[in-house]
């Protein structure tokens, strides 16, 4: 298990959210309301054609967010 930022993962990779790090309070609140809280499983679905934003899979739905926003989401990622 390693703790990494969501923005560093590749397509298909993912893990459980360990913490929301350094995000400003409105972004943090919004991420949590959208279901991204400690322990939530998330994975990278794809990247936009220009590489940003990212599409992730969370609680069975698809959410897109900019890499800058994804940097604040730390996940426990299973080593392959």
């Amino acid at each position: 298990m390693r703790e990494v930022s969501l923005s560093t993962l590749a397509i298909g990779e993912g893990g459980k959210v360990s913490q929301l790090n350094g995000a400003d309070s409105s972004l943090r609140q919004r991420l949590m309301e959208m279901g991204i809280i400690r322990g939530t499983k998330i994975s990278i679905e794809r990247f936009a054609p220009l590489g940003d934003p990212i599409e992730i899979n969370v609680r069975g739905y698809r959410l897109s967010l900019r890499k800058k926003e994804a940097e604040h989401i730390l996940v426990h990622c299973e080593d392959k």
């Binding site: 739905y61 698809r62 897109s64 900019r66």
Partner: protein, 709 residues
């Protein structure tokens, strides 16, 4: 006794019901299915968010349904999303005085079965409000296609409120939903089902009590305010002003305790709610894994590095082409209809001021308004389809990186693209941009995109003064025309960047956007959407446009001059005098007073410049193919004092640049006023564009002169 009972029975039916749900949950489809065409669209006082109400009848009772804007949470901090919370909690508007809307007596909460966990987050907040609630479960069949089955009965039992499965497009389940409404008021309030850790619960109860004492808050408001304070960084204010000192001290003490216990106060309420939701879902959901969904397969293509762009560009190209060319046929039809009407009226009403007012003032104004309808309807047909299928979110996903370089959102792209056809529908299309500052920035720069009304001006100037030489593989006229578009784009993006860095600066704007599964569009939803936009444009912007066109007609007609040529009459009119009056101001740009009259006349619509010039130069009918004579006259016009030609290629170029950058379109001003709900932003828009146009044109003219053109 019996009649007495019946009477109380009908009075307890809630007559004012709010429809609440996440974005993309099928709320609009349900709203349309319930109310049909009995809808009214207005604005909440003091805010730009649209207020949509409709009615339907239940037996003999007429019920008003308020369609609240889609939201993910009631504790959101963004002003646009606060509406739902403010109305449900009975808060007052931002101005503090006016109430946004009456507090609903009951709520229909729309929950997407294919996305149950996140949808239940809002639903459970609604249940916490202790307002009678029915949960309408939508998208049941798409959930089943995804291998998800929902046990509605069990869900109802766990939530403690009625749950009805509905399929709004097919109109199934609606009768059950209606049947549940009269029983709502009798359903009893239950205790909150989700719980936070004990210490937090105790603290919450205490703060709630203090808020009730200090501000006379009722239960749900006190509870939600406590939750907000619990996660807030700012303990100095509450909804209405400064926070009571005693409450702040209490909160700070509690926060220290939480810290010691390792409780994250900002996350605790949301985490506790979600963990209860997860336990609910584990009991009501039966999930079988199915192979990749159709939506995923489509996204493999639609957001692919190469194919994604190909599809996107094709769609946008098609849409743009359609608005640009298809709209021409109905527009010509409208023009000839207006002409025919004018001739018929002229035949009935005797010649004179009154006839002139009706035909050239009022009717021309009506024409100017109605002329926009084909473009507006076409654009909203496409936007409605893009939105309803779910592609709109992908378009924003694809374009976001590019647009974010200019401080804008991916969703700004389509409004700006549409503005190449006409800024009116473009500005109306900015409604999909949730972030207010991004939306204002997009509205402000949209008119810089070269719209179709500028084409006649460009064409006239190019045909008159730009020699048809070949430069490389392109002709000079084509290059100049292309340059005008580029100037507009560069200006729009630079101005947007500037605004977003200065007075529209926002805390790093949040992109977070759901990518809903692709769905078959509902023609009814799209048709109602188009209808709404068209009615709105006609009733709000249309009246302003009509009024201003009558004023412009007046200025160009009075004072009257008998026995004179049209050009003498125009010269003698208020507009002509104004043209002379502004001559000293526009002289540094190389423009004379005749151009000044053209500029004033074309405030109505830019293309009016061509016909005004025609009148100025005594061309009887400049619009119907005789423009070649106008070209000659323009080319040969000589300044009587200096003997030099008035129009040089440089002046023509300057005039074109002026038209690219200036706000020569009062219809746009009217729409900006309507969409931003006030005169502030249209004033800013008119002001910055006029200054920008003047400064750039001045600079180009001076440089041109010094280079010897």
């Amino acid at each position: 006794m019996n009649t007495q009972e019946k009477k109380t029975d009908t009075t307890t039916i809630p007559r004012y019901i709010a429809l609440v749900g996440n974005p993309n949950c099928g709320k609009t489809t349900l709203f349309n299915a319930l109310t049909g065409m009995k809808q009214r669209v207005g604005n909440y006082s003091g805010v730009t968010v649209e207020k949509k109400e409709g009615t339907f009848s239940l037996g003999s009772t007429e019920i008003t349904l308020l369609d609240l804007p889609g939201t993910y949470s009631l504790i959101s901090r963004s002003p646009d999303e606060k509406i739902a919370a403010d109305i449900l909690l009975g808060h007052h508007g931002d101005q503090g005085k006016t109430e946004l809307a009456e507090k609903p007596q009951a709520v229909i909460c729309v929950v997407d079965a294919s996305n149950l966990e996140r949808n239940l987050f809002l639903a459970s907040q609604i249940i916490d409000l202790h307002i009678p609630v029915i949960v309408a479960l939508t998208m049941v069949d798409s959930a089943e296609q995804m291998g998800i089955k929902v046990d509605a009965q069990k869900l109802s039992q766990l939530l403690g409120v009625p749950v009805v499965k509905i399929n709004a497009p097919r109109k199934t389940g609606l009768d059950k939903l209606l049947f549940a409404i009269p029983q709502l008021s009798t359903s009893k309030q239950t205790e909150r089902k989700w719980k936070m850790p004990e210490r937090v619960e105790d603290a919450t109860t205490e703060i709630q009590q203090l808020l009730k004492q200090a501000y006379q808050y009722e239960f749900p408001k006190a509870f939600f305010e406590t939750l907000r304070l619990l996660s807030s960084d700012d303990l100095h204010t509450n909804g209405n002003g400064s926070l009571d000192n005693n409450i702040r001290t209490k909160l700070e003490t509690h926060f220290q305790t939480f810290d010691k216990l390792g409780i994250d106060r900002r996350a605790v309420a949301i985490e506790s709610r979600y963990s209860w939701i997860q336990s609910v879902c584990s009991q009501v959901l039966h999930v079988e894994t199915v192979s990749q969904s159709l939506s995923d397969k489509l996204d493999k293509i639609f957001t692919h590095k190469i194919w994604g762009f190909a599809v996107f560009l094709t769609l946008m190209g098609f849409m743009f082409h359609a608005i640009f060319t298809w709209a021409n046929y109905p527009m010509e039809l409208i023009a000839s209809g207006i002409n025919f009407l004018g001739e018929s009226i002229s035949a009935i009403i005797p010649r004179g001021d009154f006839q002139d007012l009706i035909v050239n003032g009022a009717l021309a104004g009506v024409g100017a308004v109605v002329m926009f309808l084909p473009q507006i309807l076409l654009l909203f047909l496409f936007l409605g389809l893009l939105e309803d299928t779910g592609y709109m979110a992908r378009a924003a996903f694809i374009m976001d990186k590019l647009m974010s370089k200019f401080g804008l959102h991916g969703k700004s792209f389509i409004p700006l693209l549409s503005s190449f056809a006409c800024a009116i529908p473009g500005i109306m299309a900015t409604r999909t941009i949730e972030n207010r500052k991004n939306r204002i920035a997009t509205i402000l720069v949209a008119p810089l995109m070269s719209c179709s009304a500028r084409l006649p001006v460009y064409t006239l100037m190019i045909a008159t003064f730009i020699p048809n030489i070949i430069v490389g593989i392109f002709s000079l006229p084509a290059l100049i025309m292309f340059a005008m578009y580029i100037i507009g784009i560069v200006a729009a993006l630079s101005v947007a960047t500037f605004f977003k860095k200065t007075f529209l600066k926002s805390a790093p704007s949040i992109f977070l956007m759901e990518l809903p599964p692709y769905r078959k569009p509902s023609m009814k939803t799209v048709a109602i959407y188009m209808w709404e936009r068209a009615v709105h444009f006609l009733s709000r912007a249309g009246t302003i446009i009509l009024g201003v066109s009558i004023i412009l007609w007046f200025l160009a007609t009075y004072p009257k001059m008998e026995n004179a040529t049209p050009s003498q009459r125009l010269e003698n009119s208020f507009a002509g005098r104004a043209g002379k009056f502004i001559e000293p101001i526009i002289k540094p740009l190389g423009f004379n007073w005749k151009i000044g009259v053209g500029l004033i006349g074309s405030l109505l619509q830019r293309e009016v410049f061509v016909s005004t010039m025609g009148t100025m130069y005594n061309i009887e009918d400049s619009q119907s193919g005789k423009s070649s004579t106008l070209i000659e006259k323009l080319q040969n016009d000589v300044d009587t004092t200096t003997g030099k030609k008035i129009f040089t290629p440089l002046v023509a170029l300057c005039l074109m640049i002026y038209y690219v950058l200036s706000m020569q379109c009062m219809s746009t001003i009217a729409v900006t006023k309507r969409e931003t709900n006030g005169w502030k932003w249209p004033a800013v828009q008119f002001g910055y564009m006029t200054v920008l146009a003047y400064v750039v044109t001045f600079f180009v003219y001076r440089v041109g002169i010094s280079l010897g053109f």
